[in-house]
């Protein structure tokens, strides 16, 4: 990238710049017209100056007024005769026309400038991002991600505004200033020399005054970038801060930084206003000189008064453009500095050449048969040798284990084989070709790598699982009609900004790589990969807790309904009786809370969600109408009495409060006072201000769980009546806020699990959860729904960096991501260390079975893991010290024997 912003802008936007310049020149004609017409309207149309001698005049002779020092006015059209009124009307419309055309020009120019600026900004941002993708891996250990983001997002932003004016502004202003100077020159050369000298002084001194402002501006930019990096650090290390109780040290640090930024910014204000002050003084120095010298010349008769006035008049047009030119120059330096500071951060040593990231135009070729490492050396910052002249032959279809102590360099070897670390010396050849020059897509599709930690993108499990299959668009996305045309324009615009016309909506999944033929049979491949890493059960559980929209997946909703029916058939069996209390519109459900019984459906949105239910005006009218408000109040009173009785003696910080009490420890004394005031007088005596609070208490009450005996048969009937009243009179605007339970309807608001159960697992039955679970698994397996449930689970969003999954599941998903593309050559770099001992060995056997007939390099976290391998490489201090079959090594390998005995 050019270090000079101007050559960068010129190179990518010269055509647009020239067009805009032409438009600016053309616009001047109409600008002058819109200035000259009002004069004619006032003088001739209204005052009637031209009609003093004759009733009619020749009008609409179009004249372009040219400043007198350039030449004569240009007559374009001789016009026609008109009386005064006609003249006024016509000239007024001419004025209107000129104003409109002038406005159109202005609009067009500004739009074009803006578009050009935005295009350049887009191009610049894209190029910077493109560079991030080609940074050497080691560079990411030095830069902070938040700083990169700030640079691309914020720091290049002002450039967009400047680019539109980069060439047009100086030309235009320069032209204006030059004509004014020429005119002054024509009046008196001595005076004009003085003016020119003073202007030159001004143009020399003002930028110099502004120099410190620019320096401070640079500091401000850097300090803001560091602040962004620091804030990101706090977010990343927030657990450390809490665990070590060091939040105040962090506060000290941030306060120090903010103080530093304050100093820079305040200094900036100071310097800015000092520069402004001198700028004003200097710009007044020229009229001062004209008055003094011109006056002197006039008095001494060396120059006539008219000429002095002429100079002054010409000078009137000069300070404006000059000041703007100086401002423009200031802005230019400012953005140039910003640009340089950003660019410098984006050219680290050892960037990957763009050719390595070309996009393939067909299926990737095979990798090759044999990797030959010769004298490969890796040093960290030129100091410690992590790999020391390693020479090794690795057939890409062999299964090899690499063992060694933790600092033996075995993990670095794994990274070198995956090209994550580039050697500082030596060579790696694959079938005689330079391994380091292979295109990335070839490695991406033929070579698998699993490291100790897995990064997951904040997308669905499915997106993460298929991430390694997306090397090129396999089939384009289909667009029709207007959308297709809009997409064409979109790509055209992308090309204009030097962005690639690639479509993320296209189907990028390389089905062949996964062993599928298309979208239809991809699911079994995904399930198989999940099974290989023993993640299928977890994703299945996620699927049960996921929801689908019956409108989008009618087939699946239908099948889930079938599962519901089958399950409930099974529940009729004697041995399963009483596990679930089914949702029955005509029965009070003792295992649901009072609120859930009233709603008798799944809440959608927030209207009826949790505590909102009691506050909802419609719910309140229903309660009032059915008289249930009194019932709830007396239940609330009863609960309050029980809570006061149970929890009064407890210390307020006892966790039992939070776990079991309906009333918080803070509120309990108030409730006790209220009860004392009531003195057993009952519901009628409760003051209205306390009614709402008491009424909400029973909403969370579950008869089967809390066992306070509040809901008898009569109360059940009244609650059922309220349930019916609620459903029958539900206003149209709230219809969408609840999806009622209906045995024959799929409930899109509820999870798959709740849809199948269609009831609540009862409280107080031993092992009811696990028994239901087993029953459910049976039913789903019988109906061949297990894969479909997994498919729903695959839509689960894994959260930022996959944190919504436990670490072991993240790692399993990372392994599955590598396995699903069935790599020809797989490097497993201590990737199972996160699992417990037995799981480690099982995972190893699963991975080896998955890679049957293909190559695996297994960097073992424990030497014992090398047990099933026929070839073992032993490393020590960055060197390969022994290699061979286990038998050979057992016979003569000293380091091998040591490692194996310690395992």
């Amino acid at each position: 990238m050019q270090r000079n912003l101007f050559s960068y802008i010129w190179r990518h936007s010269r055509r647009e710049q020239i067009v805009i310049l032409g438009l600016v020149v053309l616009a001047q004609i109409f600008y002058f017209l819109s200035l000259s017409v009002p004069k004619s309207i006032v003088n001739n149309g209204i005052s009637g100056n031209a009609f003093k001698d004759a009733p009619t005049v020749q009008m609409l002779s179009i004249t372009i007024p040219v400043p007198r020092f350039i030449g004569r006015d240009i007559h374009l059209f001789d016009g026609f005769t008109a009386d005064q009124l006609t003249y006024l009307v016509i000239m007024s419309f001419v004025f209107l026309g000129a104003v409109i055309i002038n406005g159109q020009f202005r609009k067009s120019i500004n739009t074009q400038k803006g578009r050009m600026g935005e295009r350049m900004l887009r191009r610049l941002r894209y190029e910077l991002y493109d560079r991030i993708l080609r940074f050497p891996a080691a560079h990411f250990r030095k830069v902070k991600q938040a700083e990169l983001a700030t640079m691309i997002k914020d720091e290049v932003e002002p450039l967009g505004g400047f680019i539109g004016d980069a060439f047009v502004q100086p030309m235009f202003l320069g032209g204006q200033a030059l004509t004014a100077i020429v005119f002054i020159l024509m009046q008196n050369w001595i005076l004009s020399l003085v003016v020119i000298v003073l202007l030159a002084v001004q143009m020399m001194i003002v930028p110099r005054l502004r120099k410190p402002v620019l320096v401070l501006g640079r500091q401000r930019q850097l300090s803001a970038r560091l602040l962004a990096g620091r804030i990101a650090e706090t977010a990343d290390g927030v657990n450390e801060i809490h665990i070590h109780g060091s939040s105040n040290y962090e506060r000290a640090d941030i306060s120090e930084r903010l103080g530093h930024i304050f100093r820079i910014r305040f200094e900036l204000y100071n310097k800015k206003f000092v520069a402004k002050f001198w700028n004003n003084i200097l710009s007044q120095a020229t009229p001062f000189a004209i008055y003094l010298l011109g006056g002197y010349f006039a008095i001494t008769g060396k120059m006539d008064v008219g000429a002095v006035v002429g100079v002054l008049l010409a000078y009137k047009d000069l300070p404006g453009p000059i000041k703007e030119l100086i401002d423009w120059d200031q802005q230019r330096q400012d953005v140039q500095i910003k640009y340089e500071q950003v660019i410098d951060q984006f050219q680290p040593e050892g960037m990957m050449p763009p050719e390595l990231q070309t996009m393939p135009d067909g299926p990737p070729p095979p990798l090759g048969h044999e990797l030959v490492l010769a004298g490969v050396t890796v040093t960290e910052d030129g100091r410690v040798k992590q790999l020391d002249a390693v020479s090794l032959v690795v057939p890409t279809d062999a299964k090899i284990a690499v063992i060694g102590a933790s600092s033996s360099g075995k993990d670095v070897l794994g990274q070198v084989l995956a090209r994550l670390v580039l050697p500082n010396g030596g060579s790696i050849k694959i079938d005689g070709k330079d391994f380091l020059q292979l295109p990335e897509y070839l490695l991406g599709s033929r070579l698998g790598y699993i490291g100790q930690e897995t990064y997951l993108f904040p997308q669905s499990v499915r997106d993460n699982l298929l991430f390694g299959l997306k090397h090129r668009p396999i089939s384009p996305a289909k667009y029709e009609g207007d959308v297709a045309a809009a997409r064409e324009l979109f790509w055209l615009e992308a090309a204009r900004s030097g962005n690639p016309a690639l479509d993320p909506n296209a189907d990028w999944i390389d089905y062949e790589l996964a062993g599928a033929t298309g979208p239809a049979d991809l699911l079994p491949c995904m399930v198989h990969a999940l099974q290989q890493v023993e993640l299928d059960d977890d994703i299945y559980s996620l699927g049960l807790r996921g929801a689908i929209d019956a409108a989008l997946r009618p087939d699946l909703a239908e099948k889930i309904l079938k599962a519901r029916h089958t399950l409930h058939e099974r529940l009729k069996d004697q041995k399963n009786a009483g596990l679930i209390e089914t949702f029955d519109a005509d029965k009070y459900n003792k295992n649901l809370s009072v609120a859930e019984n009233l709603l008798f459906g799944t809440s959608v949105g927030t209207d009826f969600d949790g505590d909102n239910l009691a506050a909802n005006p419609y719910v309140q009218t229903v309660l009032l109408k059915t008289g249930l408000d009194k019932d709830l109040l007396s239940m609330g009173l009863s609960i309050a009495e029980t809570m006061v009785e149970l929890f009064s003696g407890l210390s307020p910080d006892n966790p039992l409060f939070e776990q079991y009490s309906f009333i918080s420890a803070d509120e309990l004394p108030n409730v006790r006072l209220l009860l004392q005031r009531l003195g057993g007088k009952g519901v009628e005596a409760v003051p209205p201000s306390d009614q709402a609070r008491l009424m909400t208490l029973p909403l969370r009450y579950i008869e089967a769980r809390h066992r306070l005996g509040l809901i008898d048969g009569a109360m059940e009937d009244r609650l059922l009546a309220a349930r019916r009243a609620f459903a029958e009179n539900l206003p149209a605007n709230l219809r969408g806020s609840v999806e009622f339970y209906d045995f024959d309807q799929y409930n899109s608001a509820a999870t798959l699990l709740d849809n199948i159960l269609f009831g609540r697992v009862v409280y107080g039955q031993a092992q009811s959860e696990s028994r239901i679970r087993a029953l459910l698994t049976d039913v789903l397996a019988e109906l061949h729904l297990r894969d479909s449930v997994i498919e729903v689970g695959l839509e689960y969003n894994v959260g930022v960096a996959g944190r919504r999954l436990p670490a072991t599941q993240r790692q399993k998903l990372g392994i599955a991501r590598a396995l699903i593309k069935r790599p020809q050559f797989l490097i497993v770099n201590e990737a199972v260390a996160v699992f417990d001992g037995r799981t480690q060995d099982r995972m190893r056997d699963n991975i080896l079975a998955a890679a049957d007939g293909r190559g695996v390099v297994w960097i073992a976290s424990r030497p014992g893991q090398s047990e099933p391998f026929k070839r073992i490489v032993v490393m020590q201090s960055g060197k390969v010290v022994e290699q061979g079959s286990p038998e050979e090594l057992a016979a003569k390998g000293k380091v091998y024997a040591e490692l194996m005995s310690s395992a």
Partner: protein
């Protein structure tokens, strides 16, 4: 069965006999009612344990694994409690407890038990007394067994 009836039942359990009713009610409220069908296990020998059970109705067998299979060493009936060893000492379950007939229990989790003991020291003392009785009983049996062996 609601809370008040449970409290009446708990009053009959020796370790809870001297505890004031309000605290018993709190214990019942913070504990879970759990029913077991015939053949279901309350706990399994060797598993980690996090709760103790008070038998409110029904009979259960205490079974211990041996080389000859499970042998029944004792039975539990109404007002007995079981499972306290795992909860107090944080060791795996020392025996399997299986419902012989429909069993009705109160399941007290470790956290609840600890917190109740903090709030109601009387309960801790009563439990100590009961455990001491059991120890004495075991000692007697041990002596008898040693004598028989000698």
């Amino acid at each position: 069965m609601n809370l008040n009836e449970e409290v009446e039942l708990l009053k009959g359990v020796p370790i809870f006999a001297k505890i004031e009713p309000a605290k018993l009610k709190l214990l019942a409220f913070t504990s879970e009612r759990m029913n077991f069908a015939v053949g279901q296990e309350l706990c399994h020998q060797g598993d980690p344990g996090d709760a103790m059970y008070v038998i409110l109705g029904g009979v259960a067998d205490i079974l211990i694994d041996s080389s000859a299979g499970q042998i029944r060493v004792a039975e539990l009936k109404r007002n007995d409690f079981v499972g306290e060893i795992s909860v107090l000492c944080d060791v795996p379950r020392t025996a399997t407890v299986m419902a012989r007939e429909q069993l009705n229990t109160l399941k007290i989790s470790r956290d609840t038990l600890y917190r109740m003991c903090e709030e109601v020291p009387q309960m801790a003392i009563e439990m100590m007394r009961e455990l001491a009785h059991r120890l004495e009983d075991t000692n007697k049996k041990l002596q008898a067994a040693t004598r028989a062996a000698a």
